[in-house]
Amino acid sequence: MESGDKVWEVFIQKKSGLPFKHAGSVHGYDKKMAVQNARDAYCRRGEGRELWVVPANCIVSVPMDEAEAYFDPQEDKIYRHPTFYVIPDGVENL
């Protein structure tokens, strides 16, 4: 890649209060250009009210061969769920 030309990941917020959602990526040499390119590429038809760009190389993810252990559903830890606890009849609003 040419010096200065970086890949940025784009996150768009559709409406106030909603989470930012990954939309894709754009190229940009600096922050301002990345934001403008993200607007032009991903928000031409009212797709969002706000957006974030993050340098793609700043995103860290779980190593693939460790993913299984990281995302073990931990089904043995059933006490993490409210249904594990027995509450006698007659107790309300719990």
Binding site: M1, E2, S3, G4, D5, V7, G24, S25, V26, H27, Y29, D30, K31, K32, M33, D40, A41, R44, R45, S61, M64
Partner: protein
Amino acid sequence: MDKFEAAFNDIIAKDLKVEPRDWMPEEYRKHVLRQVSQHAHSEVIGMQPEGNWLLRAPSLRSKQVLLAKIQDEGGHGLYLYSVAETLGMSREEMINQLHAGKAKYSSIFNYPALNWADMGAIGWLVDGAAIVNQVSLQKTSYGPYSRGMVRICKEESFHQRQGYEIMLHMARGTKEQKEMAQDALNRFWFPSLMMFGPHDADSAHSSKAMEWKIKRESNDQLRQKFIDKTVPQAEFLGLTVPDPNCKWNETTGHYDHSPFNWDEFWAVVNGDGPCNTERLDHHKKAHNDNAWVRDAAVAYAKKTEGSLV
């Protein structure tokens, strides 16, 4: 089979999506990369035949519409380069391959856009064929490609309609305008049908691509879908599809067609179309002429490195 390969096979079998960091067979990666790079270059080179008519659009409305369509195509090229980058090839490398003639784009863009009726025929037929293909690719097994296709299909629905509107306008216009519309249909019909690629029996990359669900329908299935949709639209315009064998077949429930001129198709793919050299030269020239913009951007980025916004 190791556990990674088993996980990949499971994703394919269950119709889930393969994501960039998942293990995938090298051949799968290469296939998706080749297909997406071809798709991206097609969007970008496809801006040229239409750009040719931007300054000669017959009204302000048609100029605005054409400009919006071309802007979309540039955007779609960018989405697709992003998809390809997730597979480990930089955009710069893809553009180098295009310039070196190692990467292809759809051969339909090597035909010239001779007059305003061609803007109609391109929107109606070329975008129409592309949309049939892209609707099917929304279900492709590679996650980023699939999401890109969903976005592109949503945005492109106006492209075909604006083309048909131009055709309708001309078909209902003067005798000369109707003749221009018919002439454009005559020139773009077969090249549009050949956009779907070789017949299934002759398609080098198809079977593995179907097995891995990169492609969800075969070239011939998609082509037939397009013919069946489009022939009645031509009839509505009062125009004639330039194929005497293009008739409704009661037995198959589809329209028939004549054999295609594959010699012409391969000649155009391999560089011998009317505009191959022009298209590539134009891309190279724009890229090289704009080198100073990239240099300026590097300088500005250095200067503003520590800034908050």
